[in-house]
Amino acid sequence: MTVLLETRGLSKNFGGLKAVSDVNFRIERGEVRAVIGPNGAGKTTFVSLISGRIAPSAGTILFEGADVTALPAFRRVQRGIAYTFQITSIYANLSVAENVALAAHQPGGKASLYPLERVGLADRASQIAGTLAYGHQRLLEVAMGLALKPKLLILDEPTQGLSDAEIDNFITLVREVAKNATVLLIEHNMPLVMELAHRITVLDRGMILADGTPEDIRANAAVQAAYLGTG
């Protein structure tokens, strides 16, 4: 396996607060990696740095061996880093199909509805996206990520607000996506993380607390103290 993405000494300060501090992180091609950690651990900041939505205070980001630290977000997307928003960010006034067509860079045209089929929204293609139920909007967000055909798909708390049945479908979906893309998953739902992730990285107060297979993480005392609860 080869390294797809690597960060070296990645840091982000907001005033005096070190939201992300000296993070050295690697993700390999084909992997499903979960990033977990308590609220305020810097998870969203960390993936925002990778996707280029915010600029780091220090450190470098390598994607497929090339330094992408200075690239604006849209250039990173073009290289294959897709980001799905934690707070649903779709085109509420446009049709579901047009949302996906924009992601596929074929707006107004006859873009493939395949990403919608994969998330189970194909029958709602002509509906206005803002009128979808919340869970379906989350799925549309994921479909847009898929339509980008990314090499690295970053999912920021994708199951927030989904029902149990929807989460089951989601697990199947991520497994399938992982066959031809690398997935970086930020998630609070521990059973889901344990089931999906090949490896787990635990962030706490902006630093990597632990990194390993789900079994390692489950057994790690420091993680239990910080996050999973010592009880």
């Binding site: 849209f74 897709a82 960010s89 085109y91 509420a92 446009l94």
Partner: protein, 316 residues
């Protein structure tokens, strides 16, 4: 492009062509003016309606074309067709330069920056009164507007010829607008208007698309300004004032932002309104103001915007 879209826009252009045979001399002049200014509104709508960027300074682009054309024929000795090209080139250059600066700002700041640039341009017109003749304006003599095209002598003082030239320009502008808004660019501009953040995170170079919209819009304005100067033989500083930045916004809002024909309809209706109101009051702008308030309250999407929402979903 679907057949009904081609037919609708073709019908509008055909109707304008036929109108000259029934309209009075006064009406022909008014409609000529409306058609020239509708080009300005069409361009404004690309930036405001589709890309969602509200500029309060488009008079500077209109004035760029106006003065480039007027000075071109009076001072530089250009023939009329050359003056059009010269004005368009000036419009493109000015809108690229201003766009690169102004588009660094967003929202209200963008409105203020465009307004400031436009006011600076207006004051510059007055300051260089020796050249621009300020308030009084430049009057283009008839012999400076005569030129030969493919061997035929063309006299722009002829009202019927002028009408048809304005119509040809408007038709061209409508077609260009249709092509732009139905192209990938048009769809990405709408995406930027709807959710700029998301559009950047889908890998689109948002800044570049915004600049394209800005320059297209500025170029339409400059071309309209050039047509205004050359067809009506006059360029004065009032045409560079803030009122001419606000006008295309009102015309677009009235007719329907983000519809291709909306700005054309809006320009025509506003002229008719002012004409109608000035028949019985000297405070015609007050009348217009009331109409606009009613419009914003009851038809915030403008006339064609409302029609599209309720009945004609396919309207571009």
């Amino acid at each position: 492009m679907t057949a009904r879209i081609v037919m609708l826009h073709g019908a509008v252009i055909l109707a304008l062509f036929l109108l000259q045979f029934v309209a009075s001399d006064y009406a022909v002049l008014t409609i000529t003016r409306i058609m020239v200014l509708a080009i300005y509104a069409l361009g404004y709508n690309i930036l405001f309606g589709y890309a969602g960027l509200l500029s309060l300074g488009h008079a500077m682009f209109f004035a760029t074309g106006l003065y480039a054309a007027a000075l071109g024929v009076t001072r530089l000795g250009l023939a009329v067709p050359e003056a059009f090209v010269f004005a368009l080139v000036c419009g493109i250059i000015v809108s690229v330069v201003i766009g690169l600066v102004a588009l660094r700002a967003t929202g209200v700041a963008f409105m203020i920056v465009t307004l400031m640039f436009s006011q600076a341009a207006f004051l510059a017109v007055l300051y260089f009164g020796d050249i621009t003749r300020g308030d009084e304006g430049i009057v283009i003599k008839d012999d400076q507007r005569n030129f030969s095209l493919f061997g035929d002598a063309v006299n722009l003082a002829d009202p019927v010829l002028r009408y048809n030239i304005a119509l040809a320009f408007l038709a061209l502008a409508i077609v260009l607008c249709l092509v732009v808004v139905r192209s990938k660019i048009g769809h990405v501009l709408v995406a930027i208007r709807e959710n700029e953040n998301r559009t950047a995170m889908l890998g689109y170079d948002v800044k570049r698309y915004k600049l394209i919209a800005f320059v297209l819009s500025g170029s339409f304005a400059a071309f309209s300004g050039a047509a205004y100067a050359l067809l009506f033989a006059y360029a004065g500083s009032t045409l560079a004032s803030i009122q001419y930045s606000i006008n295309p916004l009102l015309w677009t809002l009235l007719g329907g932002a983000a519809t291709v024909l909306g700005p054309v309809l809006g320009t025509a209706l506003m002229f008719l309104l002012v004409d109608f109101a000035s028949g019985f009051t000297s405070a015609s702008l007050l009348f217009v103001g009331v109409v606009l308030i009613l419009l914003v309250l009851f038809f915030p999407k403008g006339i064609l915007g409302t029609i599209r929402q309720r009945w004609l979903r396919w309207l571009p």
